[in-house]
Every structure is written in structure tokens, then in C-alpha cells.
Amino acid sequence: MTNSWTDIKNTDLVIVMGGNAAEAHPCGFKWVTEAKHHRGAKLIVVDPRFTRTASVSDYYAPIRPGTDITFLMGMIRWMIENDKVQWSYVKAFTNASFLVKEEFGWSDGLFTGYDEEKRDYDRSSWEYQLGEDGFALTDPTLQHPRCVWNLLKAHVDAYTPEMVERVCGTPKERFLKIAEMIGECSSPTKTMTSMYALGWTQHSKGSQNIRGMAMLQLILGNIGVPGGGMNALRGHSNIQGLTDIGLMSNLIPGYLNIPTEKEPDWETYMKSRQFKPLLPGQTSYWQNYSKFMVSFQKSMWGDAATAENDWAYHYLPKLDVPAYDMLRMFELMDQGKVNLYFCQGFNPLLALSNRGKNTSALSKLKLLVVMDPLQTETARFWENHGAFNDVDPSAIQTEVIELPTSCFAEDEGALVNSGRWLQWHWAAAEPPGQAKHDTWIMAQIFLRVRELYAAEGGAFPDPILNLTWPYADPSTPMPDELAREMNGTALADVTDPADPTKVLTAAGKQVKSFAELRDDGSTACGCWIYSGCFNEDGNNMARRDNSDPSGLGVHSNWAWSWPLNRRTLYNRASADLDGKPWDPERALLSWNGERWEGFDVPDIAPTAKPGEVMPFIMNPEGVSRLFSRGMMRDGPFPTHMEPFESPVQNVFNDRMRGNPVARMFESDAATLGTSDEFPFVATSYRLTEHFHYWTKHNKVNAAMQPEFFVEISEELAAEKGIQRGGKVRVWSKRGEVWAKALVTKRIKPLTCDGKTVHVVGIPLHWGFVGAAKKGWGPNSLTPAVGDANIETPEFKAFLVNIEPATGEALA
Amino acid sequence: MTQREYSESTDRIVQTQPVVVKRYITFTRVNHWFTALCFIVLMLSGFALFHPALFGLTALFGGGQNARWLHPFVGVALSISFLGMFLQLAHLNILRREDLVWTRHIGDVVSGNEERLPELGKYNFGQKLVFWGMFWLILVLLISGVAMWIQYFPELVSIETRRIAILVHSIAAVLIVLVFILHIFAAFWTQGTISAMTRGTVTGGWSWRHHRKWLRELARRQRTKPAE
């Protein structure tokens, strides 16, 4: 989230699209009710199904799964056409005026530079025109035909309301009504917030869905302002923390990158990261990359990381592929190229697309280690459960070791919520039975591995032998020890760069924040964005003062928020070019002539003059991007792409299937179905009664929603002769499931490109272990294709067929 | 052998000096007293649940819970038991022309001037009234009782129907208790009656006075054939 949960109460309009906040995030959704009750805010829901969020909305529109980009580009087109643009914001705070290279263009659904062979773009033309001084060329009048604004206008021109209706199936009058409601938020004193989740990410072009809304929000001037923002609702209580500390295969903590094979040495690695400003006077905060990176290396290897050995850069693994995401891991596993798989807090048998392939892949492992507080289907993938898990245990040789871990209520530490708040919590109970904390288990493994390396040497023992392990009890790293490590420590006195005699933090003390990190080896910091969470003031994450002098839900003394306890990202943009808040009623920050002051920590240097230093300090441009240059693999603007399995062809290019640059393994391409065989669009989702595959173990949750079902319209039920509550079989090219039929008015057939499109809703939550009735997850049906940028599997739009079930497959 | 119209096959004059008449065999008497016992249990437990002032009666059964579960089971027992009575007694309780005359002269019954009344068979109209009253009211109580028996038949009827059932059950219960009172009263008031259900016999005088046609038929049935 750019903003915080509590900030949602400041909004005038909530749009829930690509998510189902009331059901999947009911506790956070309270802030929507708060905004509705106390601010008179309106709520719009755009979703294939009339969800429980829609039940409390002011306006609802249906949409065909996987067509959000068309809807959003249509929205941008309408805003431009009807002059619903926050012009001061767009001109000053976005790259609307930047000139783009002449070669850049778009036709037939593709941008320039497409190579069909490689399924990739040559992105060199997706770039600004640079002057001789290295700075980007701009036209502040927005008259230049090559300026981003005019290219955007041209790009969205095709997305008329009629086109939206044709592609999305959203009735034109509903689209226009929503456009009018959103258009009101182009006023500087009215804001819209976007709340989304996996309904947008789980597509082969998920990142572009989110880009689409971010662009709309920028055009309305809603980024960085109270009640605005792009608010990704994270699906697990600490999934934000997971991404922050770099559990992605290509990241290290704080969104720093694991080097690739093309970056064999420190110099090459750093060269492409310390972005120089693209406009004069801009911050381009990533220029500090080396400070974070060196401090990270010092935190990892202490004295073994020195200036002489390039901070032990050679200890870091170098990626030979862009990422070892889970789709790739399971592909490799299925090819027999993985021997040992550690599965910690993860249930891939049900969570990863194409279950049949998952079973096959896990069966080829030599050893599977499952660390989980609960019994998981993955740990029992080899066990026969009739139709629910139809495997032959005698044919599976994988050894499975289960290491029971503690659950969240049994350990201490910080959970990072969607709003980036690190909230410390304390153990409420002892782990039962043989369950142990994850940190204890990992310490045991590490200590033994280190012993082996010490005894036997091996090819490259240094990174293991030299790893910093400063814990009081080496076998049990404590949560506060780990938190302090992430905050960072001064290894030598940290002095003020302007006055080297002034010691900011003495050696051995916790650094105050990442502003004190240095690239000379004098500081260590495990996760630079968390720096400040546990400094000499103590454990700031454990703060519990809920006072809010702002009245805007800032709550600065409640827990701690990264970065720097800042509650709203880009908050400098909540004030105009002169530093005056756009809306005096919701004043977060203002320029007092000398410095920024207000209720939140400014997202800019405190003395950065408003007319000179632009708000988006992480971008070398200093402004936000309507045109994202070559940063994304599938285009600098979002363009309509059909899901890989779709009932209709791409209106721009009927030869194009799915996202033209999404990575697709050959084995997976063979398992894609067509609409002739599988005429219905399926989408998957959570239900509010459950959390993933966990709560089916809980008898109370299981009683609230006991049995697997699929949702279909009354029309489809009539067409197929399906009774409410009757059994159905749903199958795709990849598998089949049996479920109860929930026949509802809440899903209505859509008309897309003259064709009737029926949607089948498939909730997750059921498996073959736990208290609830046995069932299946949607991943028995979903294709193994991921987003072009981040490889999130396409769970939200695929094709199935359905029929009344005969036989007794349901237990 | 004389045709049997007013008597049971088991009814017979057992002694002539003085006359003693067998009115009820042991089975019938046991059946009657079992029914009576059930009735009393039902009445007491029913009253307890009918009016708060009488809730204390549940103490007889060891508390309200016991009274609550006992009542319907005893109700079923009574119904079955009464069915036994019914099968034995129903045919002689069918109303006849003379019952109408008897009813018209009810004043003479009360004042003891029974010579002004027609001769009667085994049962007079009053007794028949008790019999049929019991029969119909038990039927009503049984049906409404099952509808109320929520432990075992929670889904049998709608709440609205059950409300009516409860009301009907209460009213029928009051009526059947009235019939019961009439029954006891008549048994006591009419001297010589109770022995019919205790020893199974009545005196000739009682029979002559109240059920002369019955007595006459029994005597005729016991006429020895000339050939003997």
C-alpha cells in the first residue's frame, strides 16, 4: 500500500477492482465503512461476481475476468476526453511532459521491438529522448507530439466505452456511470483510493493491471495524498514482510538485487544501479544503493567483507536466469533436476497452478522437507485419498520429512501489514508437542552445515564459515536479536558528512535510520528499509500509542512503518508545487518556507524546496511515470491482452495469445485449452469464512463453510441442467474437480464481442486434510503460466467446462 | 342360545341367590386401571405444565425435566392402553334409540326415578358419553401432542401449526379432565358401580336398576336348554 489502512477513512471514493476487500480483508475493510459512514464516501465494485464487497457498494459493474486493462484504459480515455484531469498534478508530478524516442510505437496490440522467436521485446525504443547533458527532454506545454501525454492520448484512443463493453462485457451505461463517479476525484479536494489484491496480480499481465490503475490515479492526482493511493491488500498477515526481506529468488532484503551472471564483479553490479537524476536537481534516492548494499554485506559477513574484497561480493550467488520463481522451480523439479526441496510455510501442492504437474514434480524429488505448523497436503502428496488425491504411493520414492513449526500466536516478532507497519507481537502460548520456532530449526540446520564445511572443506566454504552469527545462544536466535540486526549497527563512529567531528552514532550503537548507513564498511544493516525499527530508542515496532493529532489516521506512535516510520509514501505529493496541501481539510504536510512540516515523515529531504525537488525521489526523473520506459517487460503503457485461455480473440490482433512476452515452458504450453472444448471462463478466489488452506483445520471455520462448491449463474445452470446444491464436475485441459453447485443471481452471463460468456467461480480452501469436508482447490484446473514481470500464476482467468455430476466422486 | 345384543360374551350371571353379575373380566379391569394410572400421571404432569401455580406438581416426578419427558411417553402408553379398552368396549357403546329417551329423562336419573326410563343395555348414555368423550379427546390429545413433541418431531409441523396444537391440546386436556371428573363422580354417585372395576362383578339389584336389558339378556343367555 502506498497509504495505510487507517488512511482509507480519508477517502471520498473507494474503488475495489481486482480484489474483494470485504471478503478477503474484512478487518481492513472497516476503514471503508468508516469512510462511508463519516465522510459520505462512495464505494464502487468492479468484479466478475457480485461479491460481498459489492453487497455494501454504492455501484457495481460486472467485468469479464482478465480484461481489466481495457476497462482502465477506457477510464483514462474518458478522463482525458472529459477533462477530468488534475492538471497541476499531472504537469508537475508526472512524466507527462517527457519526450519519448521517435522509434517508439504501438500497433496490432504490440509495442515496437517485438521478437516473436524470443517472445520478448527489444525495449531500447521505450525510452526518453535525452539531451546532450544526459537529462531528459521535456515539453512542459504538453504540445510536443512525442511527449508522454500525447502518446498516452493516442494509446488509449481505441478504448472507447463501446470497446470496453465489447471486450469486458461491462454494460456501457455502467461504465459511464462509474467514469462520472471517478471523474469527480480529479478535483484537488476529492480523492479516490484503489484497493486491489490478487484479482489483479494473478494474471499473465497482472503488473500491467496495476500500472493501469496507478496511471489513472496519477491523472486524478491521487497518489501521495490522504485518502488516495494504490493500495495492494496483502493476502497473508506477513506477506509484506516476506517481500521486504527478500524471500524472492532474485532479491535480497530491502528490494536489493541478487546479482546475475552478467554482473560478475562489484563494479559491474553497482554501475547499473546508482541511477543518475534524469532532471537537474532531483534526488534519485537509489544513488545511495551502495550504502545499503555494503551495509548488507557487512551485516552478513562482518569482518570478512572488506573494501579490498569488494565487500565479499563473490560470496553472493549469481543468477543464471532472471529468477527461480516457483513455476520455474517446479518445471525443473518435474524435469528431475531438483533433489531436495525445502517447503517452509507453503503448501504448493494446492497453492501452485496445475496440480497434476505439482504431484509429478514432487514425486521426482529425493527429499522433501516440510516446515509448517499444520498438516499440509504437500506433506502428504504421496498419500492416496481416492479421487481427492489419486496417486499410487508405491510409485513415489520421495522421502518426506515434516518439521512442525510454531504458529504466529506462539512466537514473538513483527508482522508487517499491507500498510508497511511493523507491528510487534508477543507469544500467547507455547508451541504444542514437538513444534519448534522456524528460527530454531534453521539455526540447527545452519550450525550442522557449518560444522560439515569446517570439517570437510568443500568447493567454497567461505560464505558459510564466515557468516555472521552473533546470537547469544547460537542455536536460538531471538526475535529481538534478529530485529536489531535488520535495523543496523554502527561498526565505527558514524559522523555527519557536513561536519566530520560530529558523531551521529557511536560505534557499537544501533543506527538511527538508513540515513546513517555508509558504504565504507562502518555500518552493518540487514534490511535497509527497516532501519529505524529497533534503534537506540528501543523497539519502535512495539509502540502502542494510538493517539492521532492529525485526525487523518497517521498514528505515528503506533508501531513503526517502513521507511523511516513514514505512513504515506510519496506524501510530498499531497501538497502542490508551492508546498501547500491540495486539500486544506486533509493537510498532511506543508512547506513552511524553510522545511517540510506536518503529521507524517516527509517523503523528501526535509529542506528540499517544493518548486525544485520533485516528490518521486526514488525515480531518477523525480516525477512519477505515466510511461514506464523499459522497466516492464510487456510495455511502457498497459495494452489489452487476453488471458492465455480466453473465450474470445484479442480484438487488436487475433494471432496473439495471452501476454506475448509471458514466459511459457513448452510442457505448459501443451496444456492450454481452447474455448471450443472449454467454453466457460473460470476464476478463483477466497471466501471470507476461510484463510487459504489453513482454517479448514479449524472446526469453527469449517462449520461456517464446510464444503467445496462452485458458483454459476442461473442461466448457465438452466443451460446445463444443474440444480442448486447438486453435484457438478468441472474440468479443464489439466484436470477435473467435483463440487456442489451454488446457483446464483450474483453471476450473470456477459456479452463479449457478440458472444455470451458464462463465468464459473471456483473458491479455494478445500483439500484432503483438515476438519472440513474433503474437496479440491482451483489449481487442479489452472494453467501454469505466470505474469510477464513477476511470474505470478494466472489463477484468475482460465477456461473450463461444467456438467451435472453423475457417479459418486464426492465423498 | 339367545342372540347377544346388549352384553359381552364374557358377561354372565355368576350367582342367583342373590344375583351377582360378572361385568368385567380381569384383562379389562387391568386395562382400565392401567389407563387410569396413565391418565392421572398425565393429568398431574400436564397440569404442572399448564399453569404456573401448579408447576409444583413436577416435584412428584422429580422435577420439571422429568415431568416434561414423562408426559408424552405416558401419553402414548395411555393411547395404546385406551385403544385396548376401545376395542373391547366400543361396540356396546354405540348410541341407540333408547339413549335419546334416557337423555330426555336425565332429571329422573338424577332424582332416582329410573322406573320412568326405558330399560338399558350394558351402558347408559352417560357412560357412553364418557367413553366417546375419552375416545375423541384422547385422539385429539394424541395428535396435538405429537405435534408438540419437539424432541422427536421438531420438523413435523410449522411453528404456527404447533401453536394451534398447543392451544388445542390445552383445551382438550381441560375437557378430558372434565369428562374424567364426570366419570369418577358417576362411579361414586351410583352406588354399587365401583365393584365392577374392582372385583369385576355387580349386584343383581344394581343391574336391575341401571342396566335391566343387559341383565335380562344375560339371564336369557344362561337359560338351560330343555334337552339337558
Binding site: - | 355368576v14 344375583v19 422435577g63 424432541q151 401453536r163 390445552s170 352406588q191 336391575w208 335391566r212
Partner: protein, 333 residues
């Protein structure tokens, strides 16, 4: 806001309730009505009326209230089946005192589809039909703050309350043989806490406080709903049962029955009134009078059998038996 323990009831469930230990502050001394002539307090404290307000326009049907209810009351609803609807369990049960009910409604006036979700449960009537119907003294009580509570020790499990309730709420436990329903968490209210469901509700669709405060809050909500085009928004506090201590804010207050059959105009059934009204005294009087009358008559008059009758009988019998063998001297035949 924390509540001082000397207040008679918490003002709102939204506020943080007290955390210090507190003696139960609601009990027999506050009973103003008790079923079947059960004991009531002689000088009950005049507690402020409390109420739970359920704003259906804020309710997202998440069932957190159901879950909290199960947890607090330590009930064990069975893991059932899906029959093609969102309700689960499928109905209120002795193990499930509250239930989200879902109605799919095509609004003919607006042409819009609406999904109406209502939390069902005890309404805590001012004039409770259950209490009226109950034959067991003290099994159902009403406290002076308005809470209608079932006292299981006194319950005999007859289920009359089920027939008495105009809202179809109480459920008989076939195993415990007592009837169960929402207590409005009287045991929590007694120590200054709001009901568990209100505590758990993520959107504050369920709030708890004094009836006056809740009515005022409802007025605020109704105004908001009217501004959103729900011209018939209103408060459901049905006067047919004297008002209730659980109230709804409805978008369509003109048609409560849209919400899974919420009664449009609930009142204690005339049949129940008739049963618990005239039938009881009239019946007892009739039985009493009949018994006394019969006893008196039996005492003063008697239909006697005379020796004359016996003689007549002997004569008749001999006459009818004429031609038969002589009876022996004991007259045995």
C-alpha cells in the same frame, strides 16, 4: 473510552472495555420479569436499556459474529454440507445462536441487483413471546436493562418458547434437553463488555450500547442511507412486541420480510395469547368447579340400590332362566 465499573452497562462495544477484573454486575437482583411466575427482584435497579444495533448496510456477511458467538459460548456446531447457498450452518441450531442469512434480490424499483445479508438471532423483545409461553418458573428472565435470558438450570426443555417466539429463534438441544438462544452475552455485559459478536464485527455493523445511543446512531445511518437513494431506509424496532433490544438498520425498512423473512409486523401470536391468556384461568376454573360440584353432589346425593332392587333382580333372573336347573343353595350357577 473505558467504562467505569459502576456504570450499569457498557455504553458502546466500539470503545475499549475495562480490562480490570470485575464482579458480575447483572443477576437475579435485576430480574424484572420471570417466566411462569418465577422470582423477580423486589427492588430491581433501574438499569439503562441496552440495545444491539445491526446495520445491515454495513454488514459484509463475513460470519465473524457467528464465529465469535461459537467461541464465547463454547458451542460446537457440526461441520455440515453445502446445499447451494452461503448459509452455514443451514439454520440456527442449539449450537449456533446467530446466523448470517443471505437474500438475492432484484430490486424492481431501481433495476439493480442487491444481496441482502442479515444477522439473525434473538431480538430481545420488550414483550418476549418466549417468556410468555414458558411454563417453567424462572427459566426465562428479563433484566431491567432489557436483556431476555434463558436460565438453563430452570429450563425443562418443553420447547414452548419456540412456539411463543414471533421470530423463530430458540432452538431445543436434543442432547442437553434445554432450549438455547442468544443471551445478548449477558455474562459479558455483566462485566462491562459488549456482546462477543459486536466485539468481533470488523465493520462495526454490529454495535452495542444504550438503546437511546443506538437509536441515535441508527438515525445517523438512516440519514446516510437516504442520501444514497434508499428512501425507505429505517430502523426496525417493532412495536408489536413492545420494541426490541436488538434493532436493525434496514435499507428497505418498508419491507423487512425481504431480509430472509424478517417479520413485517411481529407480535405474539393470538393463538399463544389465547393459550396463555384465557385458556389457563378458564380451564383451571372449569376443572376446579367441576371437581368441587361433583364432590358436593356425591356427598349429598347418591343413587342407591335398594333390597327391593335385589329382589326384583332375583325374580327377573329366575323368570328369564325358567326351565333351567335349580341353582344350588349358594346360588352359584
Amino acid at each position: 473510552m473505558t467504562m467505569a465499573p459502576d456504570l450499569d452497562s457498557p455504553r458502546t462495544a466500539v470503545a475499549n472495555p475495562p480490562v480490570q477484573p470485575m464482579e458480575s454486575n447483572l443477576g437475579q437482583g435485576d430480574v424484572v420479569r420471570s417466566s411462569a411466575g418465577g422470582p423477580v427482584a423486589e427492588n430491581p435497579r433501574d438499569l439503562t436499556d441496552v440495545a444491539k444495533l445491526i446495520d445491515v448496510s454495513k454488514c459484509i456477511g463475513c460470519k465473524a459474529c457467528q464465529t465469535a458467538c461459537v467461541e464465547w459460548n463454547d458451542t460446537h456446531p457440526e461441520i455440515g454440507i453445502n446445499v447451494g447457498i452461503y448459509e452455514n450452518p443451514l439454520d440456527l441450531t442449539p449450537e449456533m445462536y446467530t446466523l448470517m442469512r443471505f437474500t438475492e434480490y432484484d430490486n424492481p424499483d431501481t433495476g439493480d441487483f442487491e444481496w441482502l445479508i442479515r444477522k439473525d438471532g434473538c431480538m430481545h423483545c420488550v414483550d418476549p413471546g418466549c417468556l410468555k409461553a414458558c411454563p417453567a418458573p424462572g427459566a426465562i428472565v428479563q433484566y431491567s436493562n432489557g436483556i431476555v435470558d434463558f436460565i438453563s438450570e430452570n429450563c425443562i426443555g418443553c420447547g414452548y418458547c419456540i412456539s411463543g417466539c414471533p421470530f423463530d429463534i430458540p432452538r431445543l438441544s436434543p442432547t442437553q434437553h434445554v432450549v438455547k438462544k442468544c443471551t445478548l452475552c449477558s455474562d459479558r455485559v455483566a462485566v462491562g463488555q459488549g456482546p462477543a459478536c459486536a466485539k468481533a464485527c470488523p465493520t462495526q455493523a454490529i454495535t452495542f450500547g444504550t438503546k437511546d445511543d443506538m437509536t441515535a446512531l441508527a438515525a445517523e445511518r438512516i440519514e446516510d442511507l437516504k442520501s444514497r437513494g434508499y428512501d425507505n431506509a429505517g430502523l426496525y424496532d417493532p412495536q408489536g412486541v413492545g420494541g426490541t433490544h436488538v434493532m436493525y438498520v434496514l435499507h428497505h425498512a418498508d419491507k423487512p420480510s425481504l431480509y430472509s423473512g424478517l417479520p413485517d409486523d411481529p407480535k405474539i401470536s393470538d393463538v399463544v395469547e389465547g393459550w396463555k391468556g384465557p385458556t389457563k384461568p378458564v380451564g383451571i376454573a372449569a376443572v376446579g368447579l367441576a371437581a368441587v360440584g361433583a364432590a358436593a353432589m356425591a356427598l349429598f346425593t347418591r343413587s342407591r340400590v335398594t333390597p327391593q332392587d335385589e329382589a326384583e333382580a332375583t325374580e327377573l333372573v329366575q323368570e328369564e332362566m325358567r326351565g333351567s336347573g335349580q341353582p344350588d343353595d349358594r346360588g352359584t350357577v
